[in-house]
């Protein structure tokens, strides 16, 4: 153990990097201490995150069906067979496109709405701001399941408030209109629910970022006659860059993985699977069609895509001076 430690021991050792809280290690058995503290978390993460990840990759190389699960048939190694099948399947490409367009739409809408409201929040009265944040917090705290249920009810063809209101204002064509019957309206409805419960995160984070901008800076710009859009573009955006990066990547990662809303609101992927996204597609292939190998391959593709996004995230974080 001793040879593993490079940090300078000894009392009051000057830290090589200026890190608060990082402390000198002590002599003898205490070098083991951090590992003892790490043990419970490490055991769970290795067993329930690392090992399944490995298993996911292994399974994706096999033709793994219900018969193989019960031991009724021998396991057949396909190599990259599942992947070539996927890449040659028109359906997979459609689902990938669905996922990308849906996630991109949600991310853009979430960021635009959240940032705009954050700016708005700096320009209103304190109690108005409190009301706005309270409403946002309510949406934020709403579980995906209940949020989906309420939005579905609001847009119900016959009993929903939205259609009734539209009919009342004279648009009688909306009587009994189904919002989930067609592909893109259904995605838009799900997207609206997703944006509703995820913009508060952007609002709160960006608002905190704006408050951290020195007010003298904004005051000076205002005195120089800069317009609000100009201030936003030339001062706020550059200063908020690190926060915007974090919020963007975070939103991409979430919206790429939306499951509950799609599953509940489009009843498992829409009519004829028109509203499938990668996540739901993988689930359906595995647990509805019992094609566990193929489902795993989709899972691997999704993991690789998100890992690529994560790497971009790490690089951008490092460039903006974030230390680990």
């Amino acid at each position: 153990m001793t040879s593993l430690t490079t940090a300078p021991p000894g009392p009051g050792a000057t830290p090589a990097r200026p890190r608060r809280g990082a402390r000198r290690s002590r002599t003898g058995t205490s070098r083991l201490e951090p590992w003892v503290y790490l043990l419970p978390a490490a055991a769970i993460l290795i067993g329930l995150l690392g090992y399944p990840l490995y298993q996911l990759v292994v399974t994706s190389f096999y033709d793994y069906r219900q018969a193989n699960v019960t031991g009724g048939a021998p396991l057949e190694f396909l190599g990259l067979g599942n992947y070539t099948q996927l890449l040659g399947d028109q359906k997979f490409w459609t689902v990938l496109l669905n996922t990308t367009v849906f996630a991109a739409g949600c991310v853009v809408a979430t960021l635009a709405l959240g940032s705009a409201l954050a700016v708005l929040a700096t320009r209103v009265n304190r109690w108005v701001r409190s009301v706005l944040f309270l409403a946002a917090l309510g949406a934020w705290a709403t579980p995906a399941m209940t949020g989906s249920a309420v939005w579905l009810f609001l847009f119900d063809p016959t009993l929903g408030l939205v259609n009734k209101t539209l009919v009342n204002v004279g648009l009688s064509g909306f009587a009994g209109h189904s919002w989930t019957a067609e592909k893109w309206p259904a995605f838009a409805l799900v997207g609206a629910e997703v944006v509703w419960c995820s913009f508060p995160f952007v609002l709160v984070t960006v608002y905190a970022g704006i408050l951290a901008i020195p007010s003298e800076l904004l005051e000076a710009a205002r005195l120089d006659g800069a317009s609000m859009p100009r201030i936003a573009r030339s001062i706020m955006v550059p200063m908020l860059r690190p926060i915007i990066i974090i919020v963007t990547i975070q939103s991409i990662i979430w919206d790429f993985k939306v499951f509950t809303q799609i599953y509940v609101m489009t009843n498992g992927g829409g009519i004829g699977g028109q509203n499938l996204v990668l996540n739901v597609y993988s689930y359906q292939q595995a647990f509805a069609s019992n094609l566990y190998g193929l489902g795993s391959a989709i899972g691997v593709v999704m993991t690789l895509l998100l890992l690529a996004i994560t790497l971009v995230y790490l690089r951008l974080l490092r460039r903006s001076g974030e230390v680990l």
Partner: protein
Amino acid sequence: MSTSVTAGMPDAGAPAGRSAAPSATPAAGATPASTVRGGPGAGGARRRRAWKNPGSNAAALLVAVVVAFPLYWMVLSALRPRAAIEAGDAALFTTDLTLDSFVRVLTVNDFGRFFLNSLVVAVAVVVLSTICAFLASVALTRYRFRSRTTLLVIVLIAQMVPIEALTIPLFFLFRNMGANVPAIGLNQLGSLVLVHLAFSIPFAVWMLRGFVAAVPVELEEAARIDGAKSFRFVRSILFPLVFPGVVAVSVFSFISTWNDFLFAKTFIISAQENQTLPLAILTFFKDDQNDWGAIMAGSVIMTVPVLIFFVLVQRHLVSGLAGAVKG
């Protein structure tokens, strides 16, 4: 919260700390919370142009009404008589309210049982993940060892693993484990606890890091001089000091677990009595006619605990760690 807060959120959940964590000071995390509560701090004082922007104020109020409306509609529909809903009554306000829908979900559909299941799983995950994450964050911030940075990167990447993609291997893992240890096999609440532990810990470690690092080294030295062993210090001094942070972190574990739909759906297949809330609500969706009153009542029952938790955590965030350590 996508799903989560959430979460993801929940899904949407997980993230709020992301803004606070890198700054390593709990105070940063407290800022948004304090403004929510009326902004007693700098946030409120700095904005001074009172009624200068009637347009902005009106717009903000309008947005607040629109954003809050689905929640209002959920509560109102849960209280509206079933007959009125099915007759197509969509009045924005009514005094004809009843608790029938709540009675219906709690008695006919045994909602109380599912509520209890969800609560047991969420509380177990919160307690266990907090302990594991706290100990790990102590190791990663208060000790210096070679692989520390590597481990931190692993923790960061572990947060990014799309847990949904792991459903298939986890399903088989729990199937096999259940053959040996029934309590953590499929159809058991134990499987849900373990899964959510694994998914909560990386983010909790990441966020607790800042709180643990903020406790001055001098305190630790003083404790050692007074003869406290290392673990004694961690348990009796560090943990109480970091407690506000622990509570803040726990809300995200709670929300992501409470909101979980995918794993409950996948793992709890035949044992209906071990079903959790999201799935119970789903059973009210019928092909012919949804019982919207019951769905809304169930949704209210499911949403209220999360709201309560949010409000509680804000108070802890505001009280913050800074004062406790300085004092």
